[in-house]
């Protein structure tokens, strides 16, 4: 196990960053995403207007990987169209599955630092939590309970 790859400076620093850790004023979408087995819990808020993600933020708690991933994802999607955001989600999932590599990951910017997770299957769910939540939020998913 390569801990340096897993816990690179980009990951450890972004996991503690407060840049995107904030509620979004006038959010049009708010969705909670949890990893039930481990307690990672983020609420993603988006302000989507005219098909463009005008603003995004998250609140919650979780491991360094889940929190860094959420923050880096938000850096990626602010100002992008929904369509573009969906393309990035696909690209990120592809990277985690080891199906996307090299230059094509440039569009993910610093989020590409999470590529190392593909070698640590136990932590994949942490890395993808924010991205899954974003996908569900764009799909209009509502929370459910009994």
């Amino acid at each position: 196990m390569d801990l340096k790859e897993l816990y690179s400076q980009i990951i450890t620093e972004n996991s503690r960053s407060t840049r995107n850790r904030r509620p979004v004023p006038g959010a049009t979408i708010s969705l909670e995403g949890v990893n039930p087995s481990c307690g990672d819990d983020i609420t993603l808020q988006l302000r989507v207007e005219d098909g463009v993600v005008q603003d995004a933020g998250f609140i919650g708690s979780g491991c360094a990987i889940s929190q860094a991933s959420a923050s880096l994802m938000i850096d990626d999607i602010i100002g992008k169209t929904e369509e573009e955001a969906r393309r990035l989600i696909k690209l990120f999932f592809g990277m985690i599955k080891g199906e996307a590599d090299g230059d094509e990951l440039d569009d993910l910017e610093d989020a590409a630092a999470l590529q190392g997770i593909s070698h640590t299957p136990a932590r994949v769910k942490c890395a993808v939590l924010a991205w899954h939540t974003l996908e569900e939020a764009l799909d209009g998913k509502q929370p459910e309970e009994f």
């Binding site: 801990l3 816990y7 481990c38 307690g39 979780g62």
Partner: protein, 406 residues
């Protein structure tokens, strides 16, 4: 001194190139050769469907099933005819909640549970409360993480019909005052349901003496295979309860439109049982008895004391529940400042050390403690001082990797 880890073949392997240090026994324990052999022997020499065939082999399978029941009953201090085999504690607690709770609870009644309950002793009661109109109420720990008599006195009243608590919290590791609970519950006519999943491998039990009304355990937390567990219930209660699951083997006679049920405990054992697992559970309990409670209790207490002492000198480690070995059984939950439990567990894993990180199926307790999750090191009879040292060294390593110094 005998090294008990030699009895557990899985422990001789490496983990990420390091010696495997298994400290996730609260989740599940490893299995000794003696248990694996017993299960194997059953399938090699005694397997048939119990209670069905009249041939000799089927009789031997029936004996294996019933002798295992007798062994489990003896181990937990229960009469043989009051022990029901289940898959695990969750199924056992569902059996109790459904068959007793749904049949006898009504609006205005109260079900009292501890906020530290494992979800398996919590979600079934939520369901039962919703379907019967009974009210679910909570007991809370004091600042030391202990359930006090004062708290019991505040919450138990004449409306209380069920008090369901874990004997030992799977997160806090602290023993609940069962005798005090039973005394107060019985005084108002309530039944006591004791979740012994976390205590059964760490202390001798005498359920009849404790006078609880129901108890549930999982075999896999006491060195037995997964997929087998047991419920204890007072016979008079089991007899007046409706069945939990219906179908094969739980009947006396079936007609087109009506059925009479088998006697307790078979009334609660629908379908072909996991007899291999039951044989394994009996063998595991024999194994524990052969090691002896004096050895297990003193050894585990010493390891817990050493771990707490080692954690105490690391200023960035916070232990949940009073940080003492007294009244603590098998479990230490903790957090490291500024590091999420998952990251702690991943970094410890790279050092060969297996611990659990997360909410431990006790989310209401996490909420009560104001944390999302925590780390848990949990012990078994095969753990050693070397394991404790590996854990403590690993905790320092965690801080380094996360760029927080050590």
């Amino acid at each position: 001194m005998r090294r008990f880890s030699d009895d557990f073949p899985i422990l001789s392997q490496d983990n990420n190139g390091k010696r495997l240090v298994y400290l996730d026994n609260g989740a599940t324990t490893q299995k000794p050769q003696q248990v694996l052999d017993a299960v194997n022997r059953y399938y090699l020499t005694e397997n048939a469907n119990p209670h069905r065939g009249v041939y000799d082999l089927a009789m031997r399978a029936t004996d294996a099933h019933e002798n295992s029941r007798a062994a489990v009953a003896k181990f937990i201090g229960a009469p043989e005819d009051s022990v029901i085999f289940t898959q695990n504690t969750s199924e056992g607690l569902n059996l109790i909640a459904y068959s007793y709770g749904r049949a006898f609870l009504k609006p205005g009644d109260e079900v009292l549970i501890y906020v530290a309950e494992h979800h398996s002793n919590l979600v079934p009661w939520q369901w039962v409360a919703k379907t019967t109109g009974a009210e679910l109420k909570y007991l809370y720990p004091d600042e030391n993480g202990r359930l006090t008599v004062e708290e019991l006195d505040k919450k138990i009243n004449e409306r209380t019909k069920v008090v369901a608590v874990a004997h030992v919290s799977n997160v806090l590791g602290l023993e609940t005052p069962v005798e005090e609970i039973v005394k107060r519950a019985h005084a108002v006519g309530a039944v006591v349901v004791l979740d012994i999943a976390q205590s059964v491998a760490h202390m001798p039990l005498d359920l009849v003496k404790l006078d609880v009304d129901f108890a549930a355990l999982s075999g896999h937390k006491i060195y037995a295979p997964m997929g087998v567990g047991a419920v204890y219930g007072k016979k008079a209660l089991l007899e007046k309860m409706p069945p939990f699951l219906s179908g094969g083997d739980m009947i006396a006679a079936v007609h087109e439109y009506r059925t009479t049920y088998a006697e307790v405990p078979r009334k609660f054992e629908a379908g072909t049982r996991n007899v291999g697992g039951e044989v394994g559970l009996a063998a595991a309990m024999e194994y524990v008895s052969s090691v002896g409670w004096d050895t297990i209790v003193s050894q585990e207490e010493a390891l817990i004391a050493q771990t707490l002492e080692g954690m105490n000198v690391l200023p960035y480690v916070k232990v949940y529940g009073e940080a003492t070995a007294a009244g603590r059984h098998g479990v230490i939950s903790f957090n490291i400042d500024d590091v999420h439990p998952h990251d702690v567990a991943t970094i410890l894993d790279s050092d060969g050390v297996c611990i659990r990180a997360g909410h431990h199926c006790a989310q209401p307790l996490m909420e009560h403690l104001g944390i999302g999750s925590c780390c848990r090191a949990s012990f078994a009879l095969y753990n050693t001082e070397e394991d404790v040292q590996a854990l403590l060294q690993g905790l320092k390593h965690v801080r380094e990797v996360m760029g927080l110094g050590s």
